[in-house]
């Protein structure tokens, strides 16, 4: 009885991938396991299949071959890659890339909450601007939007903010107001706001209507219901796609190099335009992007765990 349980639990691992690796490492054959069975208490053998072992070995082999080819190929110039990986200008570009990602996501999410609420409002005058916004920012390429913001000074050379028929609050050249930096941040954040708005909206819609009704019956105002009842429950739905959006944003920031923003990509391109090591420098950038993406994926998993519903569905 005891042997059966131990062996069974050992081999019938619920996660098939792990049991496959374990079996390969431990090298126990089916026959060895079967030998532990007795006529009264036979052993359940449910280890990896032969085909799985061959498949895994083949995949690992091909992977190693490709890796070897890449490492050995002199055209990749790995010494250049490692020379420049921690170059101060590269790190400076990396810093801006991270900052743009964080800032654009923060502004984008704030915008998205406003847009989502407007979009779901019963009043047409609130819905109309929100729908138009989404239509425009989702309907045009981000690259074009960035160039557009960058060239805003060309369209509106003078920017004056004044109270209608009243005093002037601000007046100046658009070139001072819309620097490449503001154009980049504005472009990324406004675009992100449009995409996040749909995510926030689906989160809001997932919240039980009955709870909102109960809140209304208790005399809570709409804004209080949004902040206290709806949004805290919507975050659970919003977090996983927001993680994806952030990872996407990290790489979208590379687009700002076209408007001469000193981000990671721009930094490596500046170097390679001098040294002509285009591919090695792009590898430098990619290694950083990959590292950041891995960190974010890890953090996303942790965050999702924290917001996991605690045994929902227990309601009758």
């Amino acid at each position: 009885m005891t042997t059966e349980r131990v062996n069974g639990a050992d081999m019938a691992d619920p996660a098939p991938r792990r049991s496959l690796f374990r079996a390969l490492l431990e090298g126990r054959t089916r026959r060895e396991v079967a030998a532990e069975g007795t006529p009264e208490a036979p052993v359940v053998v449910s280890g990896p299949k032969w085909g799985d072992r061959v498949g895994l070995a083949a995949v690992l082999l091909v992977g190693l071959l490709i890796l070897q080819e890449v490492i050995r190929n002199p055209n990749f110039k790995w010494h250049v890659v490692f020379d420049y990986l921690f170059e101060p200008t590269v790190l400076r570009g990396l810093g801006l890339t991270i900052w743009l990602t964080v800032a654009a996501m923060a502004i984008g999410i704030a915008l998205a909450v406003i847009l989502a609420v407007m979009r779901m409002a019963p009043q047409l005058w609130l819905r109309l601007p929100a729908v138009t916004y989404l239509w425009f920012f989702r309907g045009t390429p981000l690259l074009v939007q960035l160039i557009f913001w960058y060239n805003l000074a060309f369209l509106f050379p003078e920017i004056t903010i004044r109270i209608p028929f009243g005093p002037v609050l601000y007046s100046g050249s658009a070139n001072d107001l819309i620097t490449p930096y503001t154009a980049a941040l504005l472009g990324l954040a406004l675009n992100e706001g449009a995409y996040m708005a749909e995510i926030v909206r689906s989160g809001i819609m997932s919240v039980d209507k009955g709870q909102q009704e109960a809140a209304r019956a208790l005399g809570m105002t709409n804004s209080r219901i949004l902040w206290r009842i709806v949004l805290p429950q919507a975050v659970r739905i919003i977090i996983p796609p927001t993680g994806n959006q952030t990872i996407g944003m990290l790489k979208m920031t590379a687009l700002v190099s076209v408007i001469a923003m000193y981000d990671l990509l721009y930094a490596v391109q500046t170097i390679s335009s001098r040294t002509f090591d285009t591919i090695p420098m792009l590898i430098v950038a990619c290694l950083w992007y990959l590292l950041l993406t891995s960190v974010m994926t890890f953090l996303q998993g942790r965050l999702e765990k924290r917001f996991e519903p605690k045994g929902e569905g227990a309601r009758p």
Binding site: D208, A214, A215, R216, G219, T221, R315, P316
Partner: protein, 254 residues
Amino acid sequence: MSVPMVEATRVSKSFGTVEVLKGIDLTVARGEVMCLIGPSGSGKSTFLRCINHLEKLNAGLIKVDGELVGYSRSGNTLRELPSREIAARRAQIGMVFQRFNLFSHMTALENVAEAPVGVLKRPKAEVRDEAEALLRRVGLGDRLHAYPHQLSGGQQQRVAIARALAMKPKLMLFDEPTSALDPELVGEVLEVVRQLAGQGMTMILVTHEMSFAEEVADKVVFMDGGRVVEAARPEILFRSPRHARTREFLTRVL
């Protein structure tokens, strides 16, 4: 004579082209317990939801404690109040739903304390003590920090009642509070309602529990097809109803 707690006159309500309430006239005196009964789709829930303005009216008046809940009147027209004012008036009317509708991200205690702190702006510590006392009163003194999904249906509904009571309402509305419960859990919820009736709370209760209605109600109202067919003291309505429709309904459910 004092102002009745609820006074409904010629209340009409349509959803699109379907007229769901066709001129309801009802009064509920202070401290009175009124039970609403009637077949499915007769408009009981809709009427209840009109009282605290969760639904808008098409015509007619509903006054709670002498005051219109969702409207201001000028001559023969009613105009909807700003949502803040409606919210303030709703805060004085408690409502308990068939499906409990507890805030699922909050513990029992937080559910009860949320509105007194957030809406009435009362001090947290004081509200917390009161909320604890209320939960103890409904028999949940040991489940203060449980989340809704950790509670049985009957326990959830008792939290929902405590949540409504925490606002010190003048009037309590119950929409089939036991219909979503397993039979063995119905009693514990009805016991809480029975206590409230004993303490003189004014209540309107939509229910299918006929024997309970007979026991606690001061007045039973039978609705059908968006109209009040018959309203009478429970012993009269259940024992010797005057209308054929009431008799027919009662023979079907009893």
